[in-house]
Symmetry: C2
Subunit: 364 residues, 2 copies
C-alpha cells in the first residue's frame, strides 16, 4: 500500500463567520507540544495577506504590518491547550448571536486567536502598526513558553508601545496581573515507631499551627492605578509521612502567595516571611506581577475606544512578559476566565464579536 | 558454558557457638518474599534431629516433639527481614560475651531464630512438648504472613498451652501487645484557581484544627493484668493538593491509634470517633491487641523460670494471632526492639545467651 498522503490542513476563513472560525480552530487539536498543525493552518491562512510580513520561528508565528506608524501594538495569543477531555471536536448550542462554542480551547484561548486572525485580515491599513503573535507552549512549564523564547532570542519581534493579550476576560479589559510566589515550608520532627510515639516528635502535628495561621490570615486588597487587586496566601499542597507505623519526621507544605503588582519579588518574599515567621521556609518559584499601565496615554486611549471599565487581573498571565520589557499590556479576550481548563469550557459568539469590534474600532 | 551449579546452602551448626549461628543466618539474605533459601538451610539443619517431627509447608517450617506431654509450648519466629541497607553480610564487634552482631535481621529477628534453633537441638526430652515454628512474610502486608496462613489452613499445627514469640525484647518478657487501628480522615473544600482563592475553600487549611487536636491529645496509660500499656494517637500520613495553582478540595490524614489490650476493636473505634468528633473518618485497618495472659498458671510458671519482671509490649506482634486462638503468648527475644528495621540494627551475644539459657531452664 502506498503511504497515506499528509492529512490536509483545516481551512481557516478569516473573513467569514467568526464563530465558524473558532469551531475550525477548536477542531484542530493542539495540546501543548502538538502545535505544529494549527501553526501550519494559521500560516496558510495568513500567507495570502500581503499587508502582513510573516515570520515563522518554530511553532511561533509573527505577522506584522510595516507601515512606519508612530506606534506599534502587539496582539498576542497562544495556540496550545491543556489536554482534551472528550471535548474535541467542538459542539455548538444556540443560534445567531446567542451561539456558544463548547470544547477544549474554546475559552482558553482559541476564541482570542479567532479574534486576532479576524482583525489581522480586516485591518489592511491600521492607524498603528500591528504585530500579531501566535505562540506555543503556554500551558506547560514556563521554560518552554514560546513567547518567552522569542523574548529571549528575538526581542525585536516583541517591540511595541502597547500589548493586548487575548486571554479570556469576559470581553472586558483586565489590567496588569498579580504576581505568584511559591514557598516550601518544612516541618521537622523525630522519627519513631508509632507504637512508641513518645520516643519521637510528630512533624505532621507540627503543621497544625502553620495551617491555622494560613486559615486565619486575611489577605490584602491593594489599589494600583485605580484597580483593586485581591491577594491570597494558601497552602496548595501538603505531604508528610513515610509509613503507617512511623511517627513522621518531615512534613512539607507548599504555600502559594498571589500578590498585587505594587510589590516586587523581594517585597513579596518579605511579606511571606513575615506572615510565616518562625517557620522554616524556602522560596521555590516566583513570577513577578505586572502593573496595569493604565496611567499611560496609549492605555487610556485603548480603554476609551473599547469602552467599559478596567478591572484587575488576579491570575498571572503573559502580560507580565511585556511588562518586564516595559511595554504596558492588558488582558482583553472572549470567554469566561473561570472556565479556562474546565471540562465544560465554552466561548459565546457575543464575546467574539465584542472583542473583534472593539479592536477594529480602536485600531482602524 | 554449562549452567552454574545451584549455590550450596549455608551450614548451620545448631550446637556450636550461638553467635556464629546468628552470623550464618544474617549472611543468608532473606528479605520478605525471598525466604526459600534460609528455609532450606534451616530444614537441612533440623532434619538430622530425630526427636523432632519436621513439616514444611511453603516456606513455613514446623518442627515438633511428640512426647505426649500434658502441655505443649510453641516457640515461634519469622525468617524474613525488611530490605537490606548495605548491612549484609554481617559484621561483628567486641569479644566473648561482649560480642555484637551487626547487620540486617540481626535484631529483627534472626537472633530469636538462632535461639529457637539452639533450643530445638539441645532439648531432646523437654518437660513440655515443643513446637518450633519458622515462618515467612512477617514484614509485609498481613495477608501474606506465613503464621497467619498456617493458622487458617492448618490450625492444628499451632495448638498449644502457651506460646513464646522470639521478637526482640532486650531479652526480657513483654506480655501481650497493643492493638493498632488506622483511620483516614478526609477534609473537603471547594476547588478554585489559587489566584481567586476566595472562590474556593481550602481543604488543607481545614486540616489545621485536626492536627492541633491530635497534638493536644494526651494518650492514656492503661493497666492490664499488672502491666501498664501506653497508648498513642498520631497522624502518620497527610496528603493534599493537586497543583501549585489550585485551592485544594481534598486533604487526607491517616491516623494511627495504638490501643491497650483492654479494648476490643469496637471500643478502639469508639474512642477514635470520640477524640476526632466532628471529622469525617473511616476505619481502614485494625489489628486487635493481645492481653498479656499473665493471670494463667503456665505464664506465671514461665515468668518464674526465666526470672525478671514482665513488661508491656507496646507494638503489635504476632502474639495477637495466638491470643486470638485463646493461647496465652508472650514476647521474649534477644535484641533491642527500638533497633528493629534500623540501618544500624544489631544483636548482643549476651542477649542470645540470656534467652537460650532461660528457655532451657524453663523447658528442660
Amino acid at each position: 500500500m502506498p503511504a497515506s498522503p499528509p492529512e490536509s490542513l483545516p481551512a481557516l476563513d478569516l473573513t467569514g463567520d467568526l464563530t465558524e472560525l473558532l469551531v475550525a480552530l477548536v477542531d484542530t487539536e493542539s495540546v501543548s507540544g502538538d502545535e505544529a498543525r494549527i501553526a501550519d493552518a494559521i500560516q496558510a491562512a495568513l500567507e495570502p495577506l500581503d499587508h502582513l510580513e510573516l515570520i515563522r520561528d518554530g511553532d511561533v508565528l509573527v505577522a506584522r504590518t510595516q507601515l512606519g506608524r508612530a506606534e506599534r501594538v502587539v496582539l498576542a495569543g497562544h495556540t496550545d491547550t491543556v489536554p482534551i477531555a472528550g471535548n474535541v471536536p467542538s459542539t455548538t448550542t444556540g443560534k445567531g448571536d446567542d451561539r456558544v462554542v463548547h470544547g477544549r480551547g474554546s475559552c482558553d484561548m482559541k476564541g482570542g486567536v479567532a479574534v486576532q486572525l479576524a482583525v489581522a485580515a480586516a485591518l489592511r491599513e491600521p492607524a498603528r502598526d500591528l504585530t500579531f503573535i501566535f505562540y506555543d507552549h503556554e500551558e506547560v512549564e514556563a521554560s518552554l513558553n514560546g513567547l518567552a523564547r522569542i523574548g529571549r532570542e528575538r526581542p525585536d519581534l516583541l517591540a511595541a508601545s502597547f500589548a493586548v493579550l487575548l486571554e479570556p476576560t469576559n470581553a472586558r479589559v483586565e489590567g496588569g496581573c498579580q504576581g505568584t510566589m511559591r514557598a516550601e515550608v518544612t516541618l521537622t520532627g523525630v522519627a519513631a515507631h508509632s507504637a512508641r510515639s513518645w520516643m519521637g516528635s510528630n512533624a505532621i502535628h507540627a503543621a497544625g499551627p502553620l495551617l491555622e495561621r494560613l486559615a486565619a490570615h486575611t489577605s490584602a486588597q491593594v489599589e494600583v492605578e485605580g484597580l483593586v487587586y485581591r491577594e491570597g496566601m494558601n497552602a496548595v499542597r501538603i505531604a508528610g509521612g513515610i509509613a503507617g507505623n512511623v511517627i513522621p519526621d518531615r512534613c512539607v507544605v507548599e504555600v502559594n502567595y498571589r500578590f498585587a503588582p505594587d510589590k516586587d519579588d523581594a517585597q513579596a518574599e518579605a511579606y511571606v516571611r513575615e506572615v510565616l515567621d518562625g517557620f522554616d521556609l524556602e522560596i521555590t518559584d516566583v513570577a513577578t506581577g505586572a502593573r496595569p499601565g493604565l496611567d499611560r496615554p496609549i492605555a487610556a486611549d485603548f480603554l476609551a475606544a473599547v469602552g467599559g471599565e478596567a478591572h484587575p487581573k488576579f491570575g498571572w498571565t503573559d502580560v507580565a512578559r511585556f511588562s518586564a520589557l516595559d511595554i504596558p499590556a492588558v488582558n482583553f479576550g472572549p470567554g469566561d476566565p473561570s472556565k479556562a481548563h474546565a471540562d465544560d469550557e465554552f466561548c459565546p459568539t457575543a464575546d467574539l464579536h465584542t472583542c473583534r469590534d472593539a479592536l477594529l474600532r480602536w485600531l482602524g
